[in-house]
């Protein structure tokens, strides 16, 4: 792994809030749930048009307005129980709320 690459969780092109997922995946709620554990924070990359893990890395990483996100991610991941979601909030939700 190239350590310099940014995590998707802290990237402005990454969206994993419920609104974005429900908008992109119609019918998900019929026999699934946007809040289920199996989703594990996966989200959509608007740059590459893929659905991927929040912990993926990318050379086109573009930090969100909250640069502390990446640092907190690394810190909490190293403590062994995952990432604090607050740092990964999208700056603007797709519905404009």
């Amino acid at each position: 792994m190239r350590p310099g690459l940014g995590r998707c969780a802290g990237c402005r092109n990454f969206r994993n809030d419920a609104d974005s997922i429900l908008l992109a995946f119609p019918g998900l709620s019929a026999m699934g749930s946007v809040g289920a554990d199996v989703r594990a924070g996966d989200g959509l990359c608007s740059l590459h048009g893929v659905y991927l893990s929040f912990s993926d890395r990318c050379a086109q990483f573009s930090a969100t307005a909250r640069p502390e996100g990446e640092a907190r991610f690394e810190e909490e991941l190293s403590r062994g129980y995952g990432f604090s979601g607050a740092a990964a909030q999208p700056t603007v939700s797709p519905s404009g709320k």
Binding site: G32, S33, A36, V38, C45, Y51, S55, R57
Partner: protein
């Protein structure tokens, strides 16, 4: 988008696995806390020679409208109290999950009233004669309402298919002896493992042969082999599927799940399968937990002298749950991890050097299973000194009965919610190659599932003793 999804407060929802806070911010964990709270309260009351049967009310058999009217009038206070408890508790929990109470409350009123109507129809003395099986009826009513009428999107807040079904499964654990899980669990894992690997392989390789991209074929394969929509979404994220592909997998899973929710009980009935075998077949070949439970519960309720189907409703539910939950659902994290590893080493070697993280096995683990096992363990331990006669005389009416009644309500909320949230016009188109690849797996799945459930392991499932 002409109409927003207004059910979740954007930005207030947990975005990624977030340590201990997950315990109070995810629906999986809340199904565990609520389910176990019910079990503990039921047990505390039971040891004090009391129970909450008063509030765990449901319509009983009726033959004429006057009988029904007097039954409902007599129990009106109990229904009002039950509704109030459900409303307060579920509104509180769903608000913590990010749903707005002002949207959840009217939606839940609709779900509760319709569930009551389904219960009433199912309790009619002629219901079996007219095939009015409550789970299928609930699903059918929901489908008609959501597709024939334009229900406001805000009502989606109360159509929590997965939350209700997870809560119901945790409560189901309380009536399933832990010894049974230990005894039949390995058989369930073996049977489900065989069918899952085979189904995934057929869908994946057929898809590749038809020219589908590897991540897309894997997403379809997981949807057909593991746990439906949940698996498709989990694997899509793990293998970096294109964003257009998960909606196609969702459409195919939901389409075949709805076909099978009606077809599998019907075919099982024609073949006169014992209830336990029917439940096992449904658990092996249905795709989604909620749809499969609707089918298994429907088939189990057919058991009896009228239809000539041997076994009991609890056998069908037990065999279904063992195969679906223990045999398939719990392995989703492993599937995602393995496919992520294959993805980064075989499918996208030129990418950025990402590597799969073993932690995702836990992140993706369906935590409600912990509640299911804990509830089973708790009750099994608590009643270990009772003889069978004492169990039937004291434990069944005092402890198991009220829990079962609340469980049935939770399942009915879920079955209705499936129909109410399945708006066929909103689904992505899924024709051509993806359809044929997925359907090839469906055919293999249903045939091999039947052979294993009836011929190979049939004696286990037919003689299950929950």
């Amino acid at each position: 988008m002409s109409e927003q999804n207004p059910t979740i407060v954007a930005g207030d929802h947990p975005q990624t696995p977030s340590g201990w806070r997950e315990l109070f911010r995810k629906e999986d964990w809340w199904s565990v806390w609520l389910g176990l709270a019910v079990v503990v309260i039921a047990y505390v009351l039971f040891v004090n020679r009391q129970n909450f049967g008063w509030i765990a009310v449901a319509p009983t058999k009726w033959g004429t409208f006057s009988e029904l009217g007097s039954q409902l009038a007599t129990n009106a206070g109990r229904y009002i109290a039950q509704f109030a408890v459900f409303l307060v508790v579920l509104t509180g929990v769903t608000s913590l999950l990010g749903y707005k109470p002002r949207e959840f409350v009217p939606s839940f009123v609709l779900v509760y009233v319709l569930s009551g109507a389904v219960f009433v129809a199912g309790a009619w003395s002629q219901a079996q004669r007219y095939n009015l099986e409550p789970p299928l009826l609930a699903l059918f009513i929901g489908l008609v309402l959501s597709n024939a009428f334009h229900l406001p999107k805000s009502l989606d807040a109360g159509f929590r298919v997965e939350f209700y079904i997870k809560l119901g499964i945790v409560l189901l654990g309380a009536t399933l002896p832990f010894t049974l899980i230990l005894w039949a669990g390995p058989v369930a894992i073996l049977q489900a493992g065989i069918v899952s690997v085979l189904t995934f392989s057929v869908i994946y390789f057929t898809g590749r042969k038809l020219g589908l991209e590897a991540p897309f074929a894997a997403t379809l394969g997981a949807g057909g082999a593991v746990c439906g929509v949940s698996a498709a979404i989990a694997v899509a994220g793990a293998v970096r599927a294109r964003k257009e592909h998960p909606p196609i997998a969702i459409t195919l899973v939901v389409f075949w799940a709805i076909v099978f929710v009606f077809a599998l009980p019907l075919v099982s009935r024609q073949l006169h399968l014992p209830a336990g075998q029917g439940g096992a077949w449904i658990g092996t070949s249905e795709f989604a937990d909620a749809a499969g439970l609707a089918a298994a519960q429907s088939y189990g309720e057919l058991a009896g002298p009228v239809t000539g189907i041997s076994g009991s409703a609890s056998q069908a539910l037990a065999s279904y749950t063992l195969i679906k939950v223990i045999g398939r659902d719990v392995w989703i994290g492993i599937w995602a991890f393995v496919l992520a590893a294959i993805s980064v080493t075989r499918w996208e070697k030129d990418e950025t050097g990402r590597r799969p993280e073993a932690k995702q096995i836990w992140w993706r683990f369906p935590k409600f299973v912990i509640g299911f096992l804990a509830a089973s363990l708790l009750v099994t331990f608590a009643v270990r000194h009772f003889s069978l006669a004492e169990y039937n005389r004291m434990v069944k009416p005092g402890l198991a009965g009220p829990i079962t009644a609340l469980r049935t309500w939770a399942f009915t909320f879920s079955f209705l919610s499936i129909g109410l949230s399945t708006r066929l016009r909103e689904f992505a188109s899924a024709k051509g190659r993806p359809f044929w690849a997925f359907s090839a797996g469906v055919i293999v799945n249903v045939i091999v599932g039947y052979i294993l459930s009836v011929w190979v392991f049939g004696h286990y499932w037919a003689n299950l003793a929950p």
